[in-house]
């Protein structure tokens, strides 16, 4: 039976009352019915338009990981690319993009994961991470954890150690226990709700 762990939300893990979290949450726009009816899409592009809030986001992750001897920050295409490299640069780690099939030009390893209907694949260059490297995996949002689990498998297949997965937003599914192959999950905020009159 796969080990389950509590998802760590920032407000309950060292950052209680930190006003930066509220600024980050307020900067995220909710777009109803995208990509389909019933889904309240968490749009982080508005966070990227708010320089202060975007800087807070990166600063929180950098403060958490800078003394953990992390040598690799892996980011999931495409929104993981918007957060990962800034963190990597600040903590002196390599940035490794995890991409959709057919995008990476060199020799790749790939891992499939489930979608609501069907499945997709995540790829990484074979020479990107070395055995025993300490890795964090970044994405903008975690829902079921399918993509992150595939990313963890890619890292472990190369003998690297995933120290933690980190996301800006965590959907209700990950509150409480999560299954990410036993790895810790750190999340800044819960999903934003709709404004009063939109």
């Amino acid at each position: 039976k796969e080990k389950e762990r509590e998802t760590m939300f920032a407000a309950e893990n060292g950052l209680k009352g930190d006003p930066r979290l509220e600024a980050i949450s307020a900067a995220i726009r909710v777009v109803p019915n995208f990509p389909k009816k019933g889904i309240m899409f968490q749009d982080i592009t508005t966070l990227l338009l708010d320089h202060k809030a975007f800087k807070h986001t990166i600063d929180i992750f950098v403060d958490r990981y800078k003394d953990m001897q992390i040598s690799v920050v892996a980011g999931v295409e495409a929104r993981g690319f918007m957060f990962g490299p800034s963190i990597a640069l600040a903590i002196g780690a390599k940035f490794v993009p995890l991409r959709k099939p057919g995008k990476l030009p060199g020799k790749v390893i790939s891992e499939s994961y489930e979608l609501e209907y069907g499945h997709d694949r995540l790829e990484m260059h074979v020479d990107a991470v070395k055995p025993l490297e300490r890795v964090i995996i970044i994405d903008d949002l975690v829902a079921t954890g399918g993509t992150l689990s595939a990313a963890i498998s890619l890292m472990e297949s190369q003998g690297a150690e995933v120290v933690e997965c980190a996301c800006v937003i965590g959907l209700p599914e990950v509150k409480g226990q999560h299954k990410l192959k036993g790895k810790p999950l750190y999340v800044l905020v819960e999903p934003s709700g709709l404004d009063e009159f939109c």
Partner: protein
């Protein structure tokens, strides 16, 4: 249908609408509310004065080395060339190896930041997907916002789009309505300029909404493909040039 209509009216009658009503009331996409421009300018005049002294010294140091920034050779050598990708005859410039070289990646960002700091640039636009890797660190360092320019149907809100030609057929790039305001000064970032089609489309998109393109910036140029000629008035800044094939 009837019950939905009457619930809707009930919700309207009792502002603020209770949570249950939100799904009924909010069919439209919330518009983007930008933070005030003054509040996002985090580089004060004092900092900018200090930075220009720094840049002058860096430029003087670079000038000693035949006019080339001494960081460039290391950046160039960190880029891996993969033959015959995505198809035979193409020498693909792989920047993922640059991202694995922490010094080269830092130097790349530093060169762009030194160039664009304190120039009143409030927008860094990055083209999907490799523009997303270089753009945000530059935006954060110069106090600008980052605007992703994406393939169709990826952005969730209201968009404007611009078509451009491919070898066979056309493609589109899109930007969120309201992400930028008229009069803003922008740079556009991508990892590489080849034919210039994507960058030209990005320029057109931003200019349509009244944004001034200060410069296009890429890590790599393939000069044989003459991408520069498609950029109109917009200058192009490059770190490394390479052969296309």
């Amino acid at each position: 249908m009837q019950s939905i209509v009457s619930s809707y009216h009930l919700c309207l009658a009792h502002p603020p609408p209770p949570v249950l009503c939100q799904r009924l009331l909010c069919h439209r996409i919330p518009s983007i509310r930008l933070p005030s421009r003054r509040s996002t300018t985090s580089l004060g005049l004092f900092t900018c004065a200090a930075v220009s002294r720094e840049s002058e010294m860096a430029a003087a140091a670079a000038a000693k080395e035949d006019g080339q920034d001494p960081r460039i050779p290391k950046i160039a050598s960190s880029i891996r060339v993969i033959p015959d990708f995505p198809k035979p005859g193409i020498m693909f410039q792989d920047i993922t190896t640059l991202l694995l070289d922490t010094e080269a990646f830092k130097d790349t960002i530093d060169i762009f930041v030194e160039r664009y700091k304190c120039k009143g640039i409030s927008v860094v636009a990055g083209v999907e997907a490799r523009g997303f890797i270089f753009g945000p660190p530059i935006a954060l360092a110069i106090g600008a916002k980052f605007v992703p320019m994406r393939k169709p149907k990826k952005l969730p809100g209201k968009v404007i789009s611009e078509e451009y030609s491919l070898e066979y057929g056309t493609d589109k790039i899109e930007m969120h309505v309201g992400a930028v305001e008229p009069g803003e000064r922008a740079i556009i970032i991508d990892d590489l300029i080849a034919t210039g089609g994507t960058l030209a489309a990005a320029i057109r998109l931003l200019e349509r909404v009244g944004v001034k393109i200060v410069e296009c910036a890429c890590v790599i140029e393939l000069p044989e493909l003459k991408g520069r000629e498609k950029l109109g008035e917009a200058p192009l800044f490059i770190l490394v040039t390479s052969d296309a094939a």
